[in-house]
């Protein structure tokens, strides 16, 4: 498969694909971060995670239409407002869902899978009823379009760069929140043992609600970012869900660093393979490798070593 290319070409292929992989990496990280909190930390198997992302995307769409219609002058910055709003809206819905649904299921983690699957059906239908079954287009501000040429073959898409910066900053923020803040300490205590956390003075209900809300909010931000590169339709969320879970599990469910490492290795593998194989085969091989590695290391790439 290398024979078709000259050495110079191969070099730039690896550079370009590496970069494409970085964008894919950022996409994976964005998808997975919210789930790393909700599933990795709280243990809730949130099958509606994709729908929370799409909710963020629809919010972005609405905001873009609003700016286009009423504030065209400020259109260049609408995206930041959209992102903040996506966080708030998805987070608020997350909190409502936690309050009505999830909090009754902490003792039955597998049941969260079924309940959130039902939720995802309802959300999809809601999107369809409100926004119509067709995909909606989000106009990207001019400054985010186009690319910066590095060499004559390697160009860096600006929106890709933006997604990357976004992914990195959110990861950093979540890391600090979960592992360097008092709040993160409480979250982890609640997750470890809800009754006991309550008995050492932690308001577990509030912590749960906030945690779930933040996880959903991050999903919303991811959805906002995806409007730049992906499609927004009622069922688009489903496309992401398996990949997202796999990224989190492959990293080691409890580990944020693991999530990032896993997103990185999966994206790079897929990106490089895609160049030499068909898109389908690249995906199959990547998934197979992930499954294979998980069989050898069932606890994921980065797992806590705890005695049983």
């Amino acid at each position: 498969m290398f024979a078709d290319y000259s050495w110079g070409e191969l070099l730039s292929i690896f550079a370009m694909q590496g970069f494409a992989g970085l964008i894919l990496f950022s996409v994976f990280v964005l998808m997975a971060l919210g789930l790393a909190i909700i599933f990795g930390q709280m243990g809730v198997i949130n099958m509606a995670h994709g729908e929370f992302m799409i909710l963020g995307a629809y919010v972005t769409y609405l905001v873009s239409r609003l700016f286009e219609t009423y504030m065209p002058a400020l259109f260049g910055i609408y995206f930041f407002i959209a992102m903040a709003l996506a966080f708030v809206v998805a987070g608020a819905l997350g909190m409502v869902v936690e309050w009505t649904l999830i909090r009754r299921l902490y003792k039955r983690p597998l049941d969260t899978l079924l309940a959130t699957w039902g939720l995802s059906l309802i959300l999809q239908q809601l999107f369809r009823s409100v926004f119509g079954p067709r995909e909606v287009g989000v106009t990207i501000p001019q400054w985010m379009m186009g690319s910066l040429p590095l060499t004559d073959t390697i160009e860096v898409p600006i929106n890709g760069l933006f997604v990357m910066v976004l992914a990195m900053s959110i990861s950093a923020a979540i890391y600090v929140l979960m592992f360097r803040s008092r709040w993160g300490l409480q979250v982890r205590a609640v997750v470890a043992n809800r009754t006991m956390a309550d008995a050492v003075g932690i308001n577990t209900e509030r912590t749960d609600r906030l945690t779930f809300g933040i996880g959903c909010g991050v999903a919303g931000v991811a959805g906002a970012a995806f409007t730049m590169i992906g499609s927004t339709g009622p069922t688009s969320g489903q496309l992401y869900i398996v990949d997202t879970f796999l990224v989190v599990v492959f990293g080691g469910a409890g580990s944020l660093i693991g999530t990032i490492a896993s997103a990185f290795s999966i994206s790079q593998a897929q990106s490089i393979l895609e160049f030499f194989l068909s898109g389908s085969m690249a995906k199959v091989l990547t998934l197979l490798a992930v499954v294979g590695i998980l069989m050898v290391r069932p606890q994921g790439l980065f797992a806590l070593k705890l005695r049983k």
């Binding site: 494409a20 239908q125 079954p133 909606v136 287009g137 992906g230």
Partner: protein
């Protein structure tokens, strides 16, 4: 509508066609009504594409009813949801034929759904009006294909880019299923026949959203034409990423030619992201002829000003009209008579212009090339002078 039918000229009134005579096989036909089925996905991934078809079919039915219906009978429809799931399509098709005894069905979008319902229509002797451009290699007496088969859509477009744009090398890509693969196979054969070069061919799973790799390959191979048959939501990702990667389609090279992006898809992609691409199909909303002006007006009156109309939507609109014409020609709702009557039917009022049903149950139609504009519409830059003959089993392209 009923009172109107009293004043209809003889030959269009229900009483001129006693039910016992026009319906010898127990279809859902009464003295005043005839029931047809609408079978599309209104949920699941395909609802994005199929919504337009449902709208068009309902519009046609309403217009026909206003004109007095079919053989004086008002058309009633039963709508079923295929839910983007092929077995569900088959189940609902059986339900429509067996339970509802519908006189015809307007339905399906993907080839997979058509393949799933085909045996059902043949077994229960139903009539399906299928609106989508598709891969060909099929010819069922129980189906009228109102969209184009692959050679009709492809060959004229390729001839046009090679002649007027001087294209020499092509990069083929598409979603991974039968229509894009078959279409690209035909395209490749034709390109090679013309003595030109295919420099790459790629397929991605339905729903794929990461096209950076193929874009990199395209940059490396520098083809004159990117020939793209990406379908559904993947389109959005593909064109946004293409644009972000600095491939400017408004420039002469590489030029992008697609057969899968209608105005409907542009709605999701965003006009600014596909500005400058060329599409090759039989219908564009911007077609300037009186039929189409009326059609677009009626469509917008019914569904609002923001609505757009794509190739498949128009083809779906033809379904009820072609069926009506066949029934009237046969003077009967019986399926066997309609099958027999269908070839040769002409529809001068089609928005795309005059069309005619071929012996092989496909339509003769013109093929056009549209140039995508930033406002989400296509400007027609080429149209075949004659109707293109449908050829579902093309010699030399298999």
């Amino acid at each position: 509508a009923l009172s109107a039918s009293l004043f209809l000229p003889k030959g269009l009134r229900a009483q001129d066609f006693p039910t016992a005579a026009v319906n010898t096989t127990g279809l859902a036909v009464t003295d005043t009504e005839v029931t047809v089925g609408i079978l599309h996905s209104v949920t699941g991934t395909m609802s994005i594409s199929e919504t337009g078809s449902v709208q068009a079919e309902k519009l046609a039915i309403e217009q026909i009813n206003k004109m007095g219906g079919v053989l004086g009978r008002q058309i009633k429809f039963v709508q079923e949801d295929g839910a983007s799931d092929w077995p569900t399509f088959a189940e609902k098709a059986r339900k429509l034929l067996v339970d509802n005894k519908v006189a015809s069905v307007m339905g399906c979008w993907t080839s997979a759904s058509r393949k799933a319902v085909l045996p059902v229509f043949e077994q229960y002797n139903g009539m399906l009006y299928y609106p989508t451009f598709y891969e060909g290699l099929e010819q069922s007496p129980n189906v009228i294909y109102t969209g184009q088969e692959a050679t009709q859509q492809i060959i004229a477009g390729l001839d046009w880019v090679t002649k007027t744009k001087g294209a020499k090398s092509f990069y083929l890509l598409g979603s991974d299923y039968i229509w894009p693969r078959t279409s690209n196979k035909i395209a490749r054969k034709h390109i090679e026949k013309l003595g030109l070069e295919v420099v790459g061919e790629e397929y991605y799973p339905l729903g794929h959203t990461q096209f950076n790799s193929v874009i990199n390959k395209i940059k490396l191979k520098k083809p004159d034409v990117i020939y793209a048959i990406v379908v559904g939501g993947s389109n959005v990702a593909f064109y946004k990423q293409l644009k972000a990667a600095g491939i400017d389609m408004t420039k002469e090279k590489p030029l992008l030619l697609t057969i899968s992006v209608t105005e409907d898809e542009i709605l999701g992609i965003g006009g600014e992201n596909i500005d400058g691409a060329y599409a090759c199909m039989k219908y564009f909303q911007s077609l300037d002829n009186p039929n189409n002006v009326d059609f677009v007006k009626a469509f917008k009156e019914m569904y609002g000003n923001d609505i757009v109309i794509g190739d498949v939507t128009q083809a779906a609109y033809l379904g009820p009209w072609l069926w009506k014409a066949a029934v009237e020609k046969a003077g009967s709702f019986d399926i066997d008579k309609i099958k027999e009557a269908s070839p040769g039917i002409e529809l001068p009022t089609a928005p795309e212009g005059y069309v005619k049903v071929h012996e092989n149950h496909h339509l003769w139609s013109k093929t056009r090339v549209g140039h995508a504009q930033a406002d989400g519409q296509y400007k027609v830059v080429f149209e075949t002078s004659d109707l293109v003959e449908p050829d579902p089993f093309p010699e030399g392209y298999q």
